[in-house]
Each structure stands twice: as structure tokens, then as C-alpha cells.
């Protein structure tokens, strides 16, 4: 199976919609020779930039000279960038004038060091936003914000908006995530990579050995939620929904996620709830648990995603790609991925989640039908091939 950066666009022929790979190759021919530069604060760690690990080599294969630069700074810069990211997401932060000055100075240092020059320069997220101050002439610059900018901390946004407006455009994941800015706003949704370790096909044998290693038996239908053990992801609400279902169906609940950061964690409460019920399995996942998540999602009968607040939440697409119906909350981009009554259900309450789970367990033919519809929905809308096409369209449109 294709892995790592040497994956070619041709490898996606078996998973992409028919004609899509040929079309992308033709688009690449049309744009051959253009220069595309990405700048972000990191190559990993969430926020939507990881997909560049796969997209950048493919863009280069297509003849589009693509570079991916990383801004660097001291501990102060990292702390400020982290606080600014949270503040823009609407989580109240203390951000002083000195912190912003530090951000600006570090950005100017990085602009001098990197000198990003291309036909299109895409700056990802909050940390490198101020890099635009040091832009040289020529080429289009766009700011790609991956999160929800609909309700930022207002004082912070007032300070940063003038910088966002120095770009030639801004790219958001959803219309309702977009902040009002005076430059054109484009929409590009996130995607999943069907050839990644998280989403690649897996043999039954490998799946069984992964589940054995995780100590997850398969003798009962599995309800799965993947997400951090934090209040915002409502694992206790999922436990309560499971308990309502358990009165009628013999199922097992698996809650899998990373251990919580300081504050807001509910891992102890979840463990306490699980300690009285052997059919609740709480899995603390290791760092980068791609293979484990792949196996768990394939083993699940129904996947639940019940965050109270999230960004696009592309985990939903990852579960649907494995042919699973998803019951999700209305947070973030979940309603944009779940087609109600076709690929799953969106719900507002614990009772609503339980009702939909019971409905699916009581009508098992629906599980298969919705799972198949979900996989097809992802194939057409949320694969990396669509994402690549969107980037090529942006490059063609802005550099025409």
C-alpha cells in the first residue's frame, strides 16, 4: 500500500471519483511552471495543515513548483501564537500589547529569512498571519484560516484584522466560519487522505490483531466515539446516550481519545462511569494513533461525534469513508458532512442521540445503506483529490 510522501496522484485512481485523476493531471498541465508557497507554524499538530504533507509532493509531481516553509520563533512566540489561536477561536485569552509586538517582530524576522516568493503564497492560520507585513512585490498572497473565525475575541481581532486585509484574499473552511474582511473570501473544505494510515484499506486479520492489542472484543455491536476526554467533546453525554440504548440493545461503547490537557478533562469521570459497566471501554490512545483509529472505526457499527464545539471535524468524514453511519452534534462542520437521514443523523441532545442509535440498531439494513451512502458522499466531496482540485482552481483563478 502506498505510504508516505512518495504517493503519486495515479495511486488515487482506485478511490477517487471516475475521471477525477485525469482531470487533475490536465489541470496540472495547464498550471505547470507556476510557483506555490505554503507557510505555516508547524507540519503537524492539527489545524488542517497536515494534508500538505501529501499535497505538496503531488503538486510538485504535477509540475507546480511548491514549497512549504515553517516560521520559527522563541518560546515567547510559540506561547503568543498559541494564545492568539485560542483567542481567534473565541476562547477568552489575555493578550498584551507586548505579546502582539513580539508576534510582529518575529513575523518580520521570518519574512526576511524566508522571503516567500511565488505566484501564490498561502499563509496558514494565526501564527504566521503577520508575515504579510514583509511581503515583497509580485505574486498573490492568501490567508488560509482553518478554524472558526465567526466569534473571535473582539479586541484581538480588531488588532489583527488590518493584517488579514493586507492579503489578496482569505480562505475559510465554511461560510459560517468566515469573518467579515474587505478582501475576497473563498471557501475550501478540509479533506481526508484515503491512502493514509488512518484511512487505508485494512485486512480483516490486521484489524483483528489491532483490536486484540487494544483489548476490544467484537462480540457485540460497537458504538464508537473518537475525541479527547474533554468536556467540550461530551464523552459523558455519549455514556448517557449509551445507557439509554443499553436498555434495549446489547451493545458495547468504546470511547477513544488522547488524554486531556490541563483543565477541562473528564477522563476520571468517564473512567468512574466505565468502572461500573464492563461494556464501556475507555481507551487512552498513544500519540499519532492512526492505525488504531483505522481499526476501531472499521470495527464500529455506528460512530458518534458529539462535540459541543469543534472546527470542521473531519473525523466524521474519516468514519463515513469506512462505511459507517455517523450520529453527530450540530457543532462546527458536522452538519456539512452528515446528510440527515442519508449518511447519518445530526442531533441536539443525549436523548436524540440515543433515539437515533436505537433506530439504527432496530433497523440494521439502514446501517449498511447509510454506511454505503456515506462512503460515496466522502468520495465525491471530502477526499484529498477534491482538495487538490480546489487548490489548483484557486491558483488558476488568482494567477490568471
Amino acid at each position: 500500500m502506498a505510504q508516505g510522501s512518495w504517493v503519486k496522484l495515479d495511486d488515487y485512481r482506485t478511490v477517487a471519483p471516475r475521471g477525477a485523476v485525469d482531470f487533475l493531471l490536465r489541470m496540472g498541465e495547464r498550471l505547470r511552471g507556476r510557483r506555490f508557497v505554503h507557510v505555516s507554524a508547524s507540519r503537524y499538530g492539527g489545524g488542517g495543515v497536515e494534508v500538505l504533507n501529501r499535497l505538496v509532493p503531488i503538486l510538485n509531481d504535477l509540475g507546480i513548483e511548491t514549497n512549504w516553509e515553517i516560521v520559527i520563533g522563541g518560546a515567547d512566540f510559540d506561547a503568543t501564537a498559541n494564545a492568539v489561536g485560542k483567542g481567534l477561536a473565541g476562547i477568552e485569552q489575555v493578550i498584551t500589547e507586548t505579546m502582539l509586538q513580539n508576534l510582529q517582530a518575529t513575523s518580520l524576522d521570518n519574512a526576511r529569512r524566508l522571503r516567500p516568493e511565488g505566484d501564490l503564497v498561502m499563509v496558514h492560520d494565526a501564527a504566521p498571519l503577520l508575515l504579510v507585513e514583509g511581503r515583497s512585490s509580485g505574486g498573490c498572497w492568501v490567508w488560509r484560516y482553518h478554524g472558526d473565525l465567526s466569534s473571535p475575541q473582539s479586541k484581538l481581532w480588531n488588532a489583527l484584522r488590518p493584517f488579514a486585509q493586507k492579503y489578496d484574499g482569505a480562505v475559510f473552511s465554511l461560510a459560517r466560519f468566515a469573518a467579515p474582511v474587505s478582501v475576497p473570501r473563498f471557501l475550501i473544505q478540509p479533506s481526508i487522505d484515503p491512502l493514509s494510515e488512518r484511512n487505508r484499506d485494512m485486512t480483516r486479520g490486521e484489524q483483528a490483531s489491532q483490536l486484540e492489542r487494544l483489548r476490544v472484543p467484537r462480540d457485540k455491536p460497537i458504538l464508537l466515539q473518537v475525541g479527547p476526554f474533554e468536556r467540550l467533546h461530551d464523552p459523558l453525554g455519549v455514556v448517557n446516550a449509551y445507557r439509554l440504548v443499553k436498555k434495549h440493545h446489547d451493545v458495547r461503547l468504546v470511547l477513544a481519545g488522547a488524554a486531556p490537557g490541563p483543565g477541562g478533562g473528564v477522563l476520571d469521570e468517564v473512567r468512574e462511569a466505565a468502572s461500573r459497566d464492563p461494556d464501556i471501554i475507555v481507551l487512552g490512545l498513544p500519540p499519532d494513533p492512526q492505525t488504531e483509529l483505522n481499526a476501531l472505526e472499521r470495527a464500529a457499527a455506528i460512530v458518534i461525534q458529539k462535540p459541543q464545539r469543534t472546527d470542521f471535524g473531519v473525523d466524521v468524514a474519516a468514519a463515513m469513508w469506512k462505511g459507517k453511519p455517523v450520529i453527530g452534534s450540530l457543532a462546527g462542520g458536522l452538519p456539512d458532512q452528515i446528510v440527515f437521514n442519508v449518511t447519518g443523523y445530526t442531533v441536539e441532545t443525549v436523548e436524540g442521540a440515543a433515539f437515533r442509535i436505537r433506530h439504527l440498531l432496530g433497523n440494521p439494513e439502514l446501517i449498511g445503506r447509510m454506511g454505503a451512502a456515506g462512503r460515496e458522499h466522502v468520495r465525491r466531496n471530502f477526499l484529498i483529490t477534491r482538495h487538490l482540485g480546489d487548490y489548483l482552481a484557486l491558483l488558476a483563478h488568482l494567477t490568471r
Binding site: 471516475r18 475521471g19 482531470f23 475576497p184 460515496e376
Partner: protein, 220 residues
């Protein structure tokens, strides 16, 4: 070997741009429909086909979908759903029909129009980037084979974009089949396929079944 001018299949990449117009009720919707660039009307009455949903939505344009889900105004929804871009002649004519439909609806309301408690209607426009797919055809068989393989956006470009925005009559497929291959009856049959079949893949399937039948008839 046919001497017909080949049909060159073009697909299109789509880039969505969010405009600064929003509506929270039917009255605001009317004002914004009158105001937005014409490309936005095209986007909301045809562009959804490029979004590739897995089901045929109950209503065939974004305006009707929004009044159904957010305003829960069934009467307005049904009337907006009946606006047919392929009969209207131009995108501006569609705008005029939308405006007169909403105006008439508002005039007959006995109370203030319902206001969304959830999502406002946000206006977009679509930038299309046409790209040759590399497929071309000189014969009916080659045409059928290419149509089965091309990216679905080629159906949007040659049928929806051609007929509706570029006002090229019955669309590029029917036009070529008639003028280059001299198959007027087949062109008429293709021209009668409802572009609102629900998705581009369904439109493709309907074209392929008409073409397959024609090829069987040709074989005798």
C-alpha cells in the same frame, strides 16, 4: 473514419467565493436577490450540482432549500422550487422570476415573514476554471465511451453552463450530435433529458442509456 469535427470534452474546476450579502427572512431575501451579482443567481440555481450531493435534494435550488429548512415556509418553498432556469432563457430572467415570486408571496402574507433562528442565507458566487479533459470523440461510439469516463464536471460544463449561463440552446452534446454527426432525432432525445435529474452522475447515466440505445439501433 468519420470526418466529423471532433467533440472536445472540457471539465471545470470550481472555486466558491463568499459574498457579503445575507438574508434572514423572505423580505431580506428579496432585496438581496435584486442586488447580488448575476453569477450568484447562477451559483444558487445551478451550482449546487457541482457540490455532488449523494441524493437528489427535495428542492432544486438553494433558495427553496433554505426557505424549507430555515424559514419552514412551505408555500414559498414550492413556488421557488418551480423556477426553472432551463425554461427562463437567461440568468437575468431567472432573477426576475425569483423576484416576482418572492414579491407576490410577501404581498399575500397576513403576518410579518418568518425569520430564521438558525442559518441566514449566505450568497456565493462560483468561479469556473474550464480545462480540457483530454477526451475527444469523432464517432457516436467514441462519444459514448468518453462520456462514461470523463470527470463529472464535464457534464456541468457542457450541459448546465452551456445551456443556462452561456445560453447555448440545447447544450453542447445535443448540438454536436446534430451538427457534426447529423443525428437530429438523437440530439432531440438528449436535449430533452431533465438537467435537474438530481446529480451530475444521474445526468450522466441518463445520457449513457440514451446513447447505448442509439448504438444498439445503429447496429440493427
Amino acid at each position: 473514419m468519420s470526418t466529423a469535427q471532433p467533440f472536445v470534452f472540457h471539465g471545470c474546476a470550481e472555486l466558491r467565493e463568499l459574498l457579503g450579502y445575507e438574508a434572514h427572512d423572505a423580505h431580506e431575501l428579496l432585496g438581496q436577490v435584486q442586488r447580488v451579482p448575476v453569477e450568484s443567481i447562477f451559483c444558487h440555481t445551478a451550482g449546487f450540482l457541482l457540490q455532488r450531493v449523494v441524493i437528489a435534494e427535495a428542492y432544486p435550488n438553494d433558495f427553496a432549500l433554505w426557505t424549507a429548512t430555515e424559514l419552514r415556509d412551505r408555500r414559498l418553498t414550492e413556488r421557488l422550487a418551480a423556477v426553472d432556469p432551463f425554461q427562463s432563457g437567461s440568468v437575468e430572467a431567472v432573477r426576475a422570476e425569483l423576484v416576482s415570486t418572492i414579491e407576490d408571496h410577501l404581498q399575500h402574507l397576513s403576518a410579518a415573514p418568518a425569520r430564521t433562528q438558525g442559518e441566514p442565507f449566505r450568497f456565493f458566487r462560483t468561479h469556473l476554471v474550464p480545462v480540457p479533459t483530454g477526451h475527444q470523440a469523432r464517432t457516436l461510439r467514441e462519444f459514448r465511451d468518453s462520456l462514461a469516463e470523463v470527470d463529472a464536471s464535464a457534464l456541468f460544463f457542457h450541459i448546465i453552463e452551456a445551456r443556462y449561463r452561456l445560453e447555448r440552446g440545447r447544450g453542447d452534446f445535443a448540438e454536436w450530435i446534430d451538427t457534426a454527426l447529423g443525428l437530429a432525432d438523437l440530439a432531440t432525445r438528449l436535449g430533452h433529458i431533465d438537467p435537474y435529474a438530481g446529480s451530475l452522475e444521474r445526468i450522466r447515466d441518463r445520457h449513457l442509456s440514451v446513447l447505448n440505445r442509439a448504438l444498439e439501433e445503429e447496429r440493427g
